[in-house]
Symmetry: C2
Subunit: 627 residues, 2 copies
């Protein structure tokens, strides 16, 4: 009834292939060593951070409870252990566990994922009375696996002893899988214990593929009374239960964590996106901060320097307010998926929105903290990055120091969105706004800003999540993410919002009206948008609308465009499919690349190839002949 190691390997391989993991695979030793280094250094941060915060008692309390909360689900641990684990949790949160939602969602919407037990029953041909690596056991569960105690499982935390985890009452050997886990070594947080609390948080695991992989790794079953004890001790309350209510206006790409696009066809109507329509991109449950108690800590590496309330931000620093377009690096990922499968949410061209963000300039706050533009400290201390930590641990991100300090960088410590306090959904009470960069750097619910020699530590900064990988890198197996460059400014991009794909155009109109957005990173103004209705054979210029008037090299918001294009006479027949496309050029004279193949990358980010929309010509009947 128990599989041989070889047979387990085969089953795992095929499950992985089905799940599209063959190409994502394992992290290198480089990363693992790095994880260990970080584990040490982060524990250090926690320690000295606590020291540094001693004079700011509140802030220590502020960090404390969150650490508890994050690991509360594990239950029954002494507070000392919790503190140590909190450090470890942060330290190990390197990979991209939360980044594999894509296929997830396709699977979860509609069909509930199967129970791994059923899969085991279906997939496994009972073998002879073989021994799992766990030991030689007479007593076997109804599925044919040997029984384990929680204590036995807890002894298997390291590769040298094999690594076991439990899910419900199943015991799984994940030793080989660790290197193939898209979320990297974060899986080790559960080594020797239950993964259930983590999966309640990262619901992207609830897919058939993941369950198949899990089933292939099964080696045992918890004693029934032990499982009942465990079940009682684990709180599996839905961590997303407290998310804000939503109208679901745009296409929802994932419910938990919540990710939805803006309404693409309505983009041209709203230069400033109404808040309910602004796209949403969460990696975790939406945290809830009490604005009155909220403190933003300013730090230099692990030494805390200052903490400010939102009231301080409002009263002590000059307020700045301007429109900024935020765009997910994965926007337009759908099109890359058509070239070859990529990881991540299947965004159309609506993971982009514009709001008027208000707040104080990060450079003013840094200046006040002693890290101003002219501060020799920056150079002497080798500060190269400003890191932002959100309340949704372990999320963090960082930006280069020059962007943070430049008078022309316009990075905001924002507390207003479209003239009102920032809603929780969008990062209130305090969100960083880094204009011109991928939105992942505009850290929501920001509670800590650190001047640092290195980049932020999370997988969203240092992992593969937002790295520039080449088209020929078809697997991350053996790739050290540190050798890839972190995405900051995004390239020039544009998309057609109207007409929408699949719509029809009256052939007798003789022309098509196109509308869309164009935007480039780094504040680079859009100088031109070209459009074509014959797949790029002939082009004409679009009229640039709002956004074209933005200050030079400070075009933080998109530029709207519109064009009336004549349908070439030879195409004017009902049934003909028009291949409409657009391409933009920015002030640095960078062009969009022609084909998605050239920019394809395994993470499916930064697709800025020409945007195509197919529409069909029809002859519309007159509804009212008298009219």
């Amino acid at each position: 009834m128990v599989l041989t190691t070889a047979r387990r390997g085969l089953l795992l391989g095929s499950a992985l292939r089905r799940a599209g993991f063959a190409q994502t695979a394992r992290f290198t030793n480089g990363v693992r060593n790095n994880a260990r280094t970080l584990a040490r250094s982060n524990l250090g941060v926690l320690g000295s951070g606590a020291r540094g915060l001693a004079s700011y008692g509140e802030s220590t309390n502020h960090r404390g409870p969150k650490a508890d909360r994050g690991l509360g689900g594990l239950g029954g641990l002494g507070s000392g252990t919790i503190a140590a684990l909190a450090g470890l949790a942060t330290a190990l949160s390197l990979g991209a566990l939360s980044l594999i939602q894509p296929d997830t969602v396709a699977q979860t919407e509609g069909n509930a994922p199967p129970n791994p037990d059923d899969l085991v029953k279906k997939a496994q041909v009972p073998g002879p009375n073989e021994c799992a690596p766990g030991g030689n056991r007479a007593q076997r569960c109804p599925l044919g696996f040997p029984y384990f105690s929680r204590k036995e499982v807890s002894k298997h935390k390291h590769a040298e002893d094999r690594i076991y985890v439990t899910y419900k009452d199943g015991v799984y050997d994940v030793t080989e899988f660790v290197n193939m886990h898209p979320g990297g070594e974060r899986i080790l947080l559960a080594a020797g214990s239950a993964i259930d609390p983590y999966w309640a948080m990262y619901q992207q695991h609830s897919t058939r593929q993941v369950m198949e992989i899990l089933a292939s790794l099964r080696i045992g079953t918890l004693y029934e009374h032990e499982f009942k004890e465990l079940e009682a001790s684990i709180s599996l309350d839905d961590p997303f239960a407290n998310d804000p209510p939503r109208a679901n206006l745009g296409a929802v790409r994932c419910q938990k964590p919540y990710n939805s696009e803006t309404v693409i066809e309505l983009i041209p109507d709203n230069y400033i996106t109404p808040i309910p329509m602004h796209y949403k991109r969460h990696h975790h449950p939406v945290p809830q901060a009490n604005e009155a108690d909220f403190r933003l800590v300013l730090a230099f590496e692990d030494a805390n320097i200052l903490q400010v309330s939102t009231e301080d931000l409002r009263s002590r620093f000059k307020k700045h307010e301007f429109p900024v377009t935020l765009q997910c690096a994965g926007n337009r990922r759908q099109e890359l998926n058509k070239v070859a499968p990529v990881q991540g949410l299947e965004w159309d061209c609506g993971a982009i929105s514009t709001a008027v963000w208000g707040g104080c300039l990060l450079r003013d706050v840094l200046e006040f903290t002693g890290f101003g533009d002219e501060s020799a400290l920056i150079e002497r201390a080798g500060v190269k990055h400003i890191c932002f930590e959100g309340l949704d641990k372990p999320y963090d991100a960082s930006i280069p120091i020059d962007k943070a300090l430049s008078k022309f960088g316009d990075v905001l410590v924002a507390y207003e969105m479209n003239g009102a306090p920032i809603p929780r959904e969008h990062g209130g009470p305090v969100r960083i706004i880094v204009p011109g960069h991928l939105a992942a750097r505009s850290v929501k619910w920001c509670e800590r800003i650190t001047a640092s020699k290195g980049e932020g530590h999370s997988g969203w900064q240092r992992g593969i999540a937002y790295k520039g990988a080449p088209a020929y890198m078809r697997t991350f197996d053996g790739v050290d993410p540190e050798t890839l460059t972190s995405v900051q400014e995004l390239p020039v991009n544009s998309a057609i919002c109207l007409p929408r794909p699949g719509s029809t155009v009256d052939v007798d109109d003789g022309s098509v009206t196109l509308k869309g957005w164009a935007w480039s990173g780094g504040g680079r103004n859009i100088i031109r948008v070209d459009v074509s209705v014959d797949g790029g054979k002939t082009w004409q210029g679009a009229d640039l609308g709002r956004g074209a008037e933005q200050g030079q090299n400070r075009a933080w918001a998109w530029t709207f465009w519109e064009a009336e294009v004549d349908i070439p006479p030879e195409l004017r027949k009902p049934g003909v499919e028009l291949d409409i496309c657009c391409r933009a050029v920015d002030v640095s004279m960078n062009h969009q690349p022609e084909r998605p193949e050239a920019v394809w990358n395994l993470r499916g980010i930064m697709n800025n190839s020409y945007h195509h929309v197919a529409v069909t010509l029809v002859r519309e009947e007159e509804d009212n002949e008298d009219a």
Copy 2:
């Protein structure tokens, strides 16, 4: 013997087409009006400039003589007239007269251009005794044209009276041609008089095509005694006679003004280009400044604020020194010419070089002048550009204020190149270095820096010379250059230096070693270079060498790369032509566009499509079988 207007028109049309002018054509009224506006405002500048400089006597003298020198060739004018004309000369120097050297040189190298008289003899079938628009004349020259006096010619300065010019003893009606002149209305400087002094300066006119056009416009001949008087009064001394001696190391694209590439195959050997090998791009004769007398004037619009000597620059401001790659916007123009004819010098990929430039920061000088980063003056006065004027009038260029003032912009007022005073050839004693921008903004022999609301006034800033035009703009006819964006930062680019096109590779080697450069504008680091030996079917990453270590967003110098690429087995046959190509990605994740068609523009600038080099596989015989 004299052509009818219709026949002249036909001859002109065909000559223009041969010269590739059919697509370049005439400037719009917008430009012409603009020229007039500028004429007024520039005269104003001269006037108030002189006032402003009154307290800096030397500087007034400094500007005075140059104005004289520039128009000295006209001879016999009172000094008041000269002053007025100097303003006009600057004002009208809008177009791109010096920018049509390309085919020019191809023609001049080897074959001396023909005399227009010969062309007239050859091309024209003598007609009946027709009349030129010049009048009804009995007496005709041996070529069959009526004779004119200089006084008669001088009455034809405006379109309403027809516009005549003389060249040698020929009289030409250029009324219709003015709008087609690639140099724009600058041709009107010679209206009613001789163009000979101008052509001595702009020797790009010495081509068969230009002579053909000229021949087609001929309407008469100067009386012999009048021509002799004129000849005696015109100084046609070679204005380039005083150019520095040169080694002609790289491909010379034009002798007068001098334009030459660096030695492409030697690029990979020299991260810092040795000065004799640095590419040279001149628009005029190389001016000679006496360093001891040299003064750099700092101004706000037309009010002079400060003048400094090179000694002041050295002693009063902190010295900064770093490698900067300068690249002509027209680099790699050759490839665009293969798509469709473009204007400009036919650069291969060697109009790029790197030197260590030393000097003080422009921002420090501006700060000292009262236009610092924090100066409210900048905002209050609406300053948006910093303009640089060179000694080679009427050359000027400008950059956006944020580039000039940013701590991270690193714009230099340079006085050293590779550790020594800047040679005259490269802009000494004082040259502006604008890292990350097209080299045309790094104004040589800079004598005036102006904080201004508008861009620089010359054709190289406001004209079509360095504007971002779309691929579908096949003529500048009817295009107002002010509607096109001035190029500043250049897009990501790369090229293969080795092997060189047309070289051979030993098929038995099984692989090819590629070397080249990559660079992007705006200090954007090169994060990757991909190479292919099968025309882009398969790619691999190149190793990044020197330059990859540059500071984040301050990669002002190129990045060298190298790759050893296996030749695909199916191509390993003698006689096979390998299509080797490369493409780079910068830190803002901008990619090079795949095909030159997508970036083609009439001016032939900013070609950053994939760079291709064709080499042939051969089986090399063993030279020495014992070896």
